[in-house]
Symmetry: C2
Subunit: 408 residues, 2 copies
């Protein structure tokens, strides 16, 4: 890009350099888990004594611990292994969906320590009720943490358009929310000064899968998610694609059938109208009262009444997937949320229908279901919540509220 680089920054102070190096070291341990000091030295490019000193600082802050390795690999003394204090340092990660509310306690290093899930009914989406449920789940998770454990943040994924600057859910059509100041409501009701960080569920699902799931290490990824609606998140060259206002990735509202059924967005034939849970029920002509998962189960068990409809759903899934392949040339398309069950049930049809996609990008793409199952979004939300700690490990720990219990 021809834009001029900004002015070279003034030389960083010793404190800045130390903080940055501590953050890099902790990020590395968070990403990789237990790692030998020798590997940390090689990976950071810092010298051995610096890594030793920095590690000691992190040990002192009780963010990591050092252990002697049992065996010895290759020549020389075995190196000491450093590992994150996953049981002790954790975040709360929330996924507020239409049909579910999931809350996880996730330890440093991406370890699930505890998990709560509620199914929500259609009538339950008032902000007051949702917040009350969140407060209860977060309270249970924090109360279940061992003595001395420290919560360093709360990350929240919401099935809507979220403005992270001010923590407001601008628009969550399937919840019926408009301009809900969720961050301040949550901070208030949880009676906490912990950072509460928010994001769109599609974006966070993509981030979760990219950091901890099947998309790890893949630079260009499309994450397709859905239950009632269909959304997604896009990773371009390793970086989440936001768009000019942070609304990018609404792949469920890509028209694939201009003469198709009217979508709740107002257009005709959006991808969502052909592959959502409701579309599966409609297209298979499921008897009233049958659930989406029951249809897929019947289909898996060889029912004849689901066959033609599921084939149609699979072909529609393939049309949208083909579009994403041609437009993004991704290395991987990940199916998350309940769309992953649709993909799993129609995979043969999808792959067969993709024969018409452009050859070059078609050869380069893999298709996979979410590695983190129902928790892709929560894992993405956890990363949001860990970000401050990883930016400034010692400063963040020093500034934590003394008691991280809820006031509920």
């Amino acid at each position: 890009m021809p834009v001029l680089e900004t002015v070279p920054a003034a030389p960083a102070s010793i404190d800045d350099v130390r903080r940055r190096n501590l953050g890099r070291l902790l990020q590395l341990l968070h990403d990789r888990g237990p790692t030998s000091r020798a590997d940390l030295t090689a990976l950071t490019g810092l010298n051995r004594s610096t890594v030793k000193t920095l590690t000691e600082d992190l040990v002192h802050a009780r963010l990591v611990r050092e252990t002697e390795p049992v065996g010895r690999g290759g020549a020389g003394r075995p190196s000491i292994t450093v590992e994150p204090e996953s049981e002790r340092v954790h975040v709360i990660a929330l996924d507020i969906g239409v049909a579910h509310l999931t809350a996880l306690r996730i330890g440093l290093g991406g370890v699930v320590l505890d998990r709560r899930e509620l199914r929500q009914g259609r009538a339950d989406y008032t902000v007051r009720r949702t917040v009350a449920r969140v407060v209860r789940l977060v309270g249970e998770l924090l109360d279940g943490a061992p003595a001395g454990a420290r919560c360093v943040g709360i990350g929240v994924g919401v099935c809507g358009v979220v403005s992270d600057d001010d923590g407001v859910v601008r628009f969550a059509p399937n919840l019926g929310w408009v301009d809900v100041p969720l961050r301040s409501v949550l901070a208030d009701r949880l009676d906490t000064t912990l950072p509460v960080v928010m994001g769109n569920d599609g974006d966070l699902g993509a981030r979760g899968e990219h950091l901890r799931g099947v998309a790890r290490g893949v630079p260009d990824v499309v994450y397709v998610a859905g239950e009632i609606g269909v959304g997604g998140g896009i990773i371009v060259s390793g970086t989440p694609m936001r768009g000019v206002g942070g609304y990018g990735g609404e792949i469920g509202h890509m028209v694939i059938d201009a003469r198709g059924p009217v979508c709740r967005c107002g257009r005709r034939g959006c991808w969502e109208t052909a592959i959502s849970e409701e579309a599966v029920l409609r297209t298979t002509g499921a008897p009233p009262g049958t659930t989406f998962l029951q249809v897929l189960e019947a289909h898996r068990d060889g029912a004849t009444w689901t066959r033609a409809g599921m084939r149609r759903v699979g072909r529609s899934l393939a049309v949208g997937v083909g579009n994403l392949i041609n437009v993004f040339n991704p290395g991987l398309i990940v199916f998350g949320g309940t769309v992953r069950h649709v993909f799993a049930a129609t995979e043969d049809v999808v792959r067969e229908s993709l024969a018409g996609v452009l050859a070059a990008p078609g050869e380069q793409v893999q298709l996979a279901v979410a590695g983190l199952g129902d928790d892709s979004v929560a894992f993405g939300a956890a990363e949001l919540a860990f970000a401050q700690l990883l930016d400034d490990p010692l400063g963040t720990m020093a500034a934590l509220p003394v008691v991280a219990r809820t006031g509920a």
Copy 2:
């Protein structure tokens, strides 16, 4: 991203720093045109005497010249103005399309110095004939340059999938080319050691508009281009989106009408089948022998026979545009190539049909025709060709072949 930063580089040598600063200064002048030394000082953050010395180096290499400003603005002495030697330092930029072959001589600072264009017939796309034409046009452009002018590179946009590593056109379906080693053939036939750099026309069109056209300064841009086929290029957060193999941006092969006509790619209802030149002819039921531009001209003149068809084309254009808005949340969508004439002829219908797009991204997008008209791609190709000079101004000038005339 949690990927660990690479090892901090060893302190740059004085030569490295000087080279980088010369490149930054020249890039700035290339982007902005004539700029006062005072502004250069402010924009680079370098000190005044450094800017003076660097500018003198660039003057000595005859890349820029200094002029006294005529008037004086505000208090104090008027600052000396530095401007790129646009007449003297230039590149050759080529756009190899299906129906046209365009060649420009573009000077440092993005000034068009000379321009040649050929219309191509359908039977003319053999590599041999195309290369012969290119050699002739390049020869004319170089012969027309003033004595002492220096060509620093040749940039080529091709309507196909291009591998820039080895300069091979992998696949250009509308030309019928497969695995054509165009770079080496061109370098050989032009008898030059000048760098020949290549790219896909959609990507280069996006780049041209982003650097020199209507998309200047807009971080998230979708460029839609087309004549026979419809392609495009995407800018995400200021950076061209490549995809995992460089094939991203094939937005013409986004299915918008799953029950629509069969596309040459094999799928049904690709956007291209509804908005290309051929689609305009078909949808309006144009009499045999009528050209695409004649249809649009008749439509502009108020013909009745074009009305219903053009309305349909406009609605299809809007469906794809709506998809791009929802998927990318761009700040701007630019219509280039001959698709810009389709947009101009159907703009009312397009805007009216876009009412159904998602509200938030819909409010943030602008629609515009290419600011560089037929030359978006050539301008993008020119930037490719200037890249080496802007990276290392003095080194590149020193290494130039003494005579840059063709052997043709």
